[in-house]
């Protein structure tokens, strides 16, 4: 038996994000279509597992995208990549 039987919910997947000057997302590309950010509901930092070889340092954004889709994205502040939950 390996890791197969346990499947995490909400695992992040890579996403293309256009950010403005201060790093706030301005648009997110979903299914090859660019969705403009209508509003940023909340943003927060997550710094975890800093005592291990795989530290987590993320800046999260809870967004409302055009035309009303809700999304949670984050920038990995270690490698600079963007990911989206769900």
């Amino acid at each position: 038996m390996g890791t197969g039987p346990l499947r995490r919910l909400g695992s992040p997947h890579p996403v293309a994000v256009q950010a403005d000057g201060d790093g706030t997302p301005a648009a997110v590309v979903i299914n090859s279509r660019e969705r403009t950010v209508v509003s940023v509901l909340e943003d927060w930092l997550v710094q975890d597992r800093w005592w291990t070889d795989h530290p987590v340092d993320r800046r999260y954004f809870e967004l409302v995208l055009d035309p009303g889709r809700h999304a949670v994205v984050f920038e990995d502040r270690i490698d600079g990549d963007w990911s989206m939950h769900g």
Partner: protein
């Protein structure tokens, strides 16, 4: 003749190898997570500075400021000990596993097979881990053979005949005899510090002061009344393993993974027409260290629910995030030896129907056709850490 192997400080040796620490500097086994703050086995340089097993960590560091503590790794020790026993069994021996690194077996029947006792002992020495400093010795009884092996110098293969046992054992410390700790302490206070001094005591005095246990030890000290090895019965071992994508501390996730493994093991045991009797649970902990518990079931079972009832509470003792779980069960019991009820209860009937339904959904939709949602760390700020899906298990769900 009985042949024995002894690898001194085996648990420390294994933990040091895993963490790549040398033993020619002061190191000792530290306390396991959640255990009392005392040190375990220590390396010779640490021992010379007064670091002995059972000493409080603070006191040990005061006595030896350069002391480095290594997390104990009972799972790795058990694996290494099992490998040693299997290598000896491969020589044709019926081996008794006395303690990790300490084994013995009767050489009767093997001496001719290997072309003499000396050749057999050389092959036994070759089966020991390289560089572990293990000793091999032979004597007519179990206790004497283990004692002789523990004294064996590097490159030496001592064989002690019945007439010399008492003489060879005489200089060894008293705590080698199978005596309770308080009796050893009392005897030391009376000036009896070696096996030779014990052997010189009058039998009547030993019986009066120490009882029958004392007389048994006294006879061993005199080279009499030694036992034959009690070899293990090679088990029908079934194992299951589960690796978490990331270390997990949540009880629900550990239980869900354990239930999956119990289901797999009981199904395998039923397939062999046997039931499970002894279950060993191991967890590799995040960072260094591991957890191990062995559970002997009151009655052999092939029912995953009964196995979970007996074994799951042991996982609650784990005090650190878990990287992987490993369960081994010895399928030694008869299947269906005892029926607990003649009439199925309502819960059992519902569980059976739910199990049938789940199997039908899986047959139609694939293995992930029906899943159960479990909490991993619902408080985590990383969303992917909060929830997970595991295969639906009717027995788990319907007993709640």
């Amino acid at each position: 003749m009985v042949v024995a192997t002894v690898i001194p400080r085996f648990p420390l040796l294994v933990a040091a190898l895993r963490t790549r620490r040398p033993l020619d500097v002061p190191v000792a086994l530290g306390p396991a997570p959640g255990d009392p703050q005392v040190v375990g086995l220590s390396s010779p340089p640490a021992h010379e500075q007064g670091v002995v097993p059972g000493l409080r960590v603070g006191e040990a560091l005061a006595r030896c400021p350069s002391l480095e503590l290594i997390s104990p790794d009972p799972a790795a020790v058990a694996e290494a000990a099992e490998r040693l026993v299997v290598r000896l069994e491969d020589l044709g021996a019926r081996v008794e596993h006395v303690a990790p690194g300490t084994t013995c077996f009767s050489a009767d029947g093997l001496v001719r097979l290997h072309g003499g006792l000396d050749r057999l002992m050389r092959r036994v020495r070759a089966a020991l881990p390289v560089g572990a400093g293990g000793g091999v010795g032979a004597a007519p009884g179990r206790f004497a053979a283990i004692s002789v092996a523990s004294m064996a110098e590097l490159g030496d293969l001592p064989v002690v005949g019945a007439d010399r046992i008492a003489e060879v054992l005489a200089p060894l410390p008293l705590d080698r005899l199978p005596l309770p700790h308080d009796q050893v302490t009392a005897l030391r206070e009376l000036g009896v510090r070696t096996i030779g001094r014990m052997a010189a005591l009058p039998r009547a005095a030993v019986l009066d002061r120490l009882g029958r246990e004392g007389v048994t030890a006294w006879r061993l000290a005199r080279g009499e009344g030694d036992d034959a090895p009690r070899p293990r019965r090679p088990p029908h071992a079934l194992t299951a393993e589960f690796h978490f994508p990331e270390p997990v501390g949540a009880r629900s996730a550990i239980h869900a993974a354990a239930r999956l493994m119990f289901g797999e093991l009981t199904a395998a045991a039923r397939g062999q027409g046997r039931a499970l009797r002894v279950v060993t649970l191991r967890a590799r902990l995040s960072g260094e260290g591991s957890f191990e518990r062995s559970i002997t079931l009151r009655e052999p079972t092939a029912d995953p629910q009964r196995l979970a009832l007996a074994a799951l509470p042991a996982f609650d003792e784990i005090a650190a995030p878990v990287e992987s779980l490993w369960v081994r069960a010895d399928a030694m019991g008869p299947l269906g030896g005892r029926q607990l009820t003649a009439i199925a209860t309502g819960t059992e009937e519902r569980r059976r129907r739910a199990g049938d339904a789940a199997r039908q959904v899986r047959a139609a939709q694939g293995p992930e056709g029906i899943m159960r949602l479990i909490e991993i760390e619902p408080w985590s700020r990383r969303l992917e850490q909060r929830w997970a899906l595991v295969p639906y298990d009717a027995s788990d769900h319907l007993t709640r």
